[in-house]
Symmetry: C2
Subunit: 696 residues, 2 copies
């Protein structure tokens, strides 16, 4: 059967509609459940307002940035407006803006449902773990369906309307640039609040987590939403769009050679089937009578994987022009993604020996918590890096036989494959902050020991799954940027051909310009993540000072006198202001250094820059995320009564590890992903200008 | 004037003799000073014995490794013995062994004089800071002169006797493989003892540093010698030999084309003049009446730099065939080395704002010490990486006009230039552990408050200078391995030409095999340094248990009862055993992974592997060394009475930072240098076999 592209557009549209319809259904289902406890309802309202206030202010800052960027794009890209076709420039700028708007909308929807599901999960916890799990999971699923539906809709829409793959890169850049700031800003917010709440609450005053007397406790719960829901949603929206955009750029140029549309059709077909598989996976997710929430989350991931592989195999058998090699490449990507997830689990799950080792080392003091955790973090990067390397090599070799250019297309399809189940991944990931919030609400609403145990178990599953999905996201970003590197090379050569300049065959590291870029590019993720961590550090110190002030000045707060409330909004304000102040410089460092290298060293230097950036970015993202997850769970393991339990010296040391790990895993680590993607897209978009204007 | 190569061999020989003669003179001068205090003499004897015991055991382990490696080399390199000329194989194996023996000798001499100078510096401290400074500096200078003399002698000797540049790579590999283990083993020893002594002494029992009641105190002093003197000597011997070997390999192939010997002559001439400049710099180093030790050390470095530039400029003007471009490249290297040193100073000197910031952050607890220090460490890598990148690019562009192959030769001469003043650098560096030991001896020998103040000031200068020399060493290693990458490529192509295979034009990162190697290679320094840090961690926990046992079981030790002594030798034993047990696996991981990548992926994959290894290795080495130095000095800054001073919460937090930083800066960071060099040399030596036998 010969699939027409319009048929596949229609099919993509159908799955998108299905996803949106199901998301609306789930959202209404969540909303229908009543929140009866007045205290929970009012705290939930505080969280909802705090999150929306932050989002509104953040989007106001980012809107200014996006408008400036859109104007620059309209003037300069894809070619300076005085040289090319002005309509192309307008389309490019509009695509860019569409990317930012879609990304912002996905974040907004996520926050909307997450701040509704948290209170309801807390209430459901009184009825038992199974209804509470379902509430948390379905709340997260709305986000998953919205993000994947929006990314497929956006990509297909831009391509149908503009018929230009360069506009796709513009859309993707819009998504990335917003994600960079949303992830960094949300990450700074959430960790500022989390660290400050813990530092004063648990360490200094010895009051429990989520105690309503703590002035930072609402900010902490808001942070879970703006960092882990909105930020993470923007991050995975970005990765998903970038992987599709890179694959479509290559598919279009291959189709141009062969004259058909088979490769473009393959990309859309696989992406739509991935969404369908995620919908089925989400719909069938249940916690068995004897099962655990971790088991339920993992098994629905495996179900989705199997459905995706079966559906795409069927499509490949059915449709003319679909190649088994391409299917193989996407299967390799998905397979390696699952392996990376398992390795992450090995390093961060507290039922495994490594977390126990770190907990044991904590008996000798915090220095040993840090040393051993960071060392295991270093080691944990290796299997994932080898996995990404092997999958790229295997996809390349598998598809190289299909003809010129298919090898790189194979790598991009491995990325699409890895991200095919992203709907499921996001659902699992957004589940985490919802049940984390629910735990806090249960504590603050005094729902009793049983409900607290239920939310504790749900929360612990959220942490384990979060580490796995994070490994998955980094792996996918790795493969995506490799294919973006291919996209960059083809953009450079397309421009070079037009300008009558020599074509680049690749990026030879023995060329000192490439090597120059390589070393500079490798330093950027380190500087970028350091700026974010220092931002958290500075901001947390401000908030700690504010908490101290409140405990000192508000009479009766410390003792928990009836009717005395801390000024929650002051802490939310500090987190918001600080995050907005700190996020812009870090993002600009990444973008400006790309431009500097490009205008000084030219396109070859930028090639080296991207490679160095990818290599050191992947390494640092893996190390920071895994070490952070490891410390978090080592602390939880000790709190469960091991190595002396709560309050022991080992516990105090583990708290230090956890505090260090917080900005590692929730601010710096995952932001590096986005930083790599943004830099790759800036390079591709600016390639013509670098060619024309560079000094060397 | 046309310089003959024999003339330059003779001149090199003359400078080597001069260096050795001056080293013997200084050594006798040190020895002539008497140690009058009986207690100091006896403790000094304990340190000497401990250091020699460790060296003897370490060398026994390494001798076995070296003999096995020599046999493998004799069978397989430069070509399998059944294919090539067996005599070449024997020469290669002998060169390798010579490299290991020279390196071991340099370490042995360093220990000999350092364990003599420490007691004498302590005694001299009673007379004042100037004689004490001179004693510490001259003790270190013996090491500097011995190392540089031995490296020039070895390189010239091997080349004169074998007339083969491949044998030079064998010599260099011998030096590197020993350095890898010596640095790693010494690094594990020294930090095991240091951390354990601090942890029990300062943190738990609140007794001063270097208190003789502490069972680990002698092991700590031994560690300074085996880690910082012997290990560091082997490290810089290795870098110096590798830079000369890489330059000579390229010079020989350039000379083959032009028919002269001018390029080889240039390398020897510059290296010999560098040694001469160091001798003059050392001979004129004095502490002025009003000066500080830091000032004295730094100004002698600048004097040496100026003399080197003047002498080489003179030689370039005088000799036919010497090119100003090459001189320029070596000057660029030296210049960038000095800049990197200054940047390191900016990040680690406690009179500058960054150390103060970290000290201030420590007020909020150890997590903030770690977060801020590590973040600044991340940022500190950038200027050095950009510096290395710029110097490589500038040297390349400067020399590219001279003809084919001169560009890479220019980079290698930048490395030679950066290392030209290594004699001075080592003298400054070895000064550190000598005065550190002297401080301990002054405390243990009860020489009074004045002498303690003198040794404190000397020690603080040692720490500052050490950070600078470490930055210098990493920069030099960076440039050296870039030129080793060039050497690897020419080795591969020489073999490929012989075997009738296609030549490589370079390493194109868009080739998925290269990219595969790149990702795997980038993970290795992380794993390698993690293994060393975990080794320190495990070993320190064993020693802490032993110290606890002694304080519990030896009656009167805690109270300092007259005549009660701890069992120092038990702690030395633990450090020795542990270091030897932990060093081998880490070293093997680096070597075996190179072989695996080579035999699986072939020469292109190894090219990528080397590049990934260099990039992530440089990044991690800089981050770990600088963060470690930063924490060390933040602690010292607080101890000087700032942010609450000794015993304050900020101080406790800074001690955690210092403990984490210890293995960062003295075990993992500097060992990465050697790991990169070893891997590069293994690749060059094995290139023929990879070409012939790889799977892909």
């Amino acid at each position: 059967m010969q699939p027409s592209l319009s048929l596949l557009y229609a099919f993509s549209g159908f799955t998108v509609l299905l996803a949106f319809a199901y998301a609306v259904y789930l959202c209404l289902w969540v909303k229908r459940q009543k929140v009866e406890n007045v205290r929970i309802a009012s705290i939930g309202e505080l969280i909802r307002q705090g999150a929306n206030t932050f989002l509104r202010r953040e989007y106001a800052v980012l809107a200014r940035f996006a408008i400036i960027a859109a104007v620059v794009i309209a003037v300069l890209l894809p070619a300076p407006i005085w040289k090319g076709n002005p309509l192309d420039n307008v389309l490019m700028a509009l695509s860019y803006l569409a990317g930012t708007v879609f990304s912002a909308l996905a974040g907004k929807i996520g926050i909307y449902v997450a701040t509704m599901a948290n209170t309801r999960t807390a209430e459901a916890a009184r009825k038992g773990i199974r209804p509470a799990f379902l509430m948390g999971f379905r709340g997260g699923a709305v986000m998953g369906l919205a993000v994947v539906g929006a990314s497929l809709l956006g990509v297909a829409g831009v391509l149908m309307l503009t018929h230009q793959t360069t506009a796709l890169l513009g859309f993707s850049f819009g998504a990335s640039s917003l994600a960079l700031f949303a992830k960094a800003g949300g990450g700074i917010f959430t960790k500022t609040a989390d660290i400050s709440a813990d530092l004063v609450g648990k360490v200094e005053l010895d009051i429990p987590e989520d105690d309503p007397r703590n002035p930072a406790v609402i900010a902490d719960n808001v942070g879970d939403n703006v960092g882990d829901v909105a930020g993470m949603g923007a991050d995975l929206f970005d990765s998903n769009v970038a992987s599709m955009a890179a694959a479509l750029v290559m598919a279009a140029s291959l189709d141009k050679v062969t004259g058909g549309t088979a490769n473009t059709a393959t990309v859309f077909c696989y992406a739509a089937l991935g969404l369908l598989a995620s919908i089925i996976g989400i719909a069938t997710a249940r916690m068995g009578r004897k099962g655990s929430p971790t088991h339920a989350l993992n098994s629905s991931t495996y179900v989705t994987t199997a459905i995706y592989l079966a559906l795409t195999a069927g499509a490949t058998a059915l449709f003319q022009g679909f190649r088994w090699e391409i299917w193989g490449a996407s299967a390799i990507g998905l397979f390696v993604g699952v392996i990376i997830g398992m390795v992450t689990d090995l390093f961060t799950n507290d039922t495994r020996p490594i977390v126990k080792n770190v907990a044991k080392a904590s008996r000798s003091g915090p220095a040993f918590t840090i040393l051993s955790g960071l060392s295991y973090g270093f080691i944990s990067a290796m299997p994932a890096m080898v996995g990404i390397a092997v999958s790229a090599l295997a996809a390349y070799k598998l598809c190289a036989g299909l003809g010129d250019g298919y090898a790189m297309f194979g790598i991009s399809m491995a990325a699409v494959g890895m991200l095919s189940i992203v709907g499921m991944i996001i659902s699992n990931d957004a589940y985490g902050p919802i049940v984390d919030n629910a735990r806090g609400l249960t504590e603050m609403g005094d729902l009793g020991e049983d409900a607290l145990n239920v939310t504790d178990e749900l929360d612990s599953a959220g942490n384990t799954v979060k580490a796995i999905t994070k490994g998955f996201a980094i792996g996918a970003a790795g493969l995506t940027v490799i294919s973006l590197l291919g996209a960059y090379l083809s953009e450079v050569n397309a421009s070079a051909a037009e300008m009558g300049k020599a074509l680049l065959s690749g990026f030879d590291v023995m060329d000192p310009t490439v090597f120059f870029g390589l070393l500079v590019g490798a330093a950027i993720p380190a500087v970028f993540s350091a700026m974010l961590m220092l931002g958290v550090d500075r901001n947390a110190q401000r908030m700690v000072a504010e908490i101290h002030r409140q405990f000192k000045e508000i009479v009766g707060l410390r003792e928990g006198k009836e009717g005395v409330q801390p000024e929650y909004d002051k802490c939310i304000d500090i987190a918001t202001h600080g995050a907005l102040r700190e996020l812009v410089p870090a993002g600009l460092v990444a973008i400006v250094s790309t431009l500097l290298v490009g205008f000084i060293g030219g396109v070859a230097a930028v090639g080296g820059f991207l490679i160095g950036n990818i290599v050191s970015g992947l390494l640092l993202a893996l190390v920071l995320s895994n070490a952070g997850g490891l410390w978090d769970n080592a602390k939880k393991y000790i709190e469960a009564g091991n190595e002396g339990g709560k309050g022991s010296p080992a516990h105090k040391a583990a708290v230090v590890g956890d505090t260090v790990g917080d900005p590692f895993k929730d601010t710096a680590g995952p932001s590096i992903n986005t930083q790599i993607t943004v830099v790759s897209l800036v390079a591709s978009l600016m390639s013509t200008l670098f060619l024309a204007l560079s000094i060397f």
